[in-house]
Symmetry: C2
Subunit: 135 residues, 2 copies
Amino acid sequence: MAEDISRFDICPCAVTISLLDSKWKILILRELLQGPKRYGELKKGVVGVSQKMLTQSLKEMQADQLVDRKVYPEVPPHVEYSLSSLGQSLYPVAEALENWGIAFIKNSDPDYLAKRFNIHEPGKHWLRIPDRSKE
Amino acid sequence: MAEDISRFDICPCAVTISLLDSKWKILILRELLQGPKRYGELKKGVVGVSQKMLTQSLKEMQADQLVDRKVYPEVPPHVEYSLSSLGQSLYPVAEALENWGIAFIKNSDPDYLAKRFNIHEPGKHWLRIPDRSKE
DNA sequence: CAGGATCCTTACGGATACTG
DNA sequence: CAGTATCCGTAAGGATCCTG
């Protein structure tokens, strides 16, 4: 089974990270793990993202088959984004990232964290991924 | 317990990704999961990395407490890098990333993958993380 | 409402040359 | 051997203005 992918000669870890690089995609993923959302909702949910980056990230995630885009032929326009089944399958990955991140944050010096992640302004509510363990 | 980190107002997933962003760090992590390595060994193991990026990545990983650096006072110089316990704790994360990456690669169009990840030159042996499940 | 199109700045990262 | 220092091109990403 490992042979099937060996010809690609590429690190699967790096692939996964590549698909999620730029914090915006992670935050978009987090939003969409809560269910389908409209463009405007994502814009508000992913605090700090520019229109350009949101659009661009969503396009890339569509190209990567992680996100589905549904257009409702209405006026004014109504576009809904949701996770594909592939996108949904990222849940365990997000969970692993979150668990490790929580432990890291707890064990790190607050001042270091603040500098490392440019946290000057509080209130940006970088929420956590939704908890599905009880569902 | 969630309250302990709530004041940081930051997404743990994004934190974890941030620490691993740039493919080089992932590949360095992969190398060091195999055990301590010297600078030159890493340079060879992480195929394609420039000296600048290797040094820079290692410095950041040290600052993030992921990597330990040990200098042997010899001539010629002998420096050994290894994962800290914090770095070692990334193993489950790497595993999750790898498992998802393998599935993604298997289910993706080879041509798309080649374009998406700029795979023109084969033989760069982006190996996978070491298997510890049988240890 | 959901974007497209531009401009512009910065910082990432490669190549090269040098050092204790 | 294990780096440091410098130059430099590219491209990521923010800000702004416009549109179906």
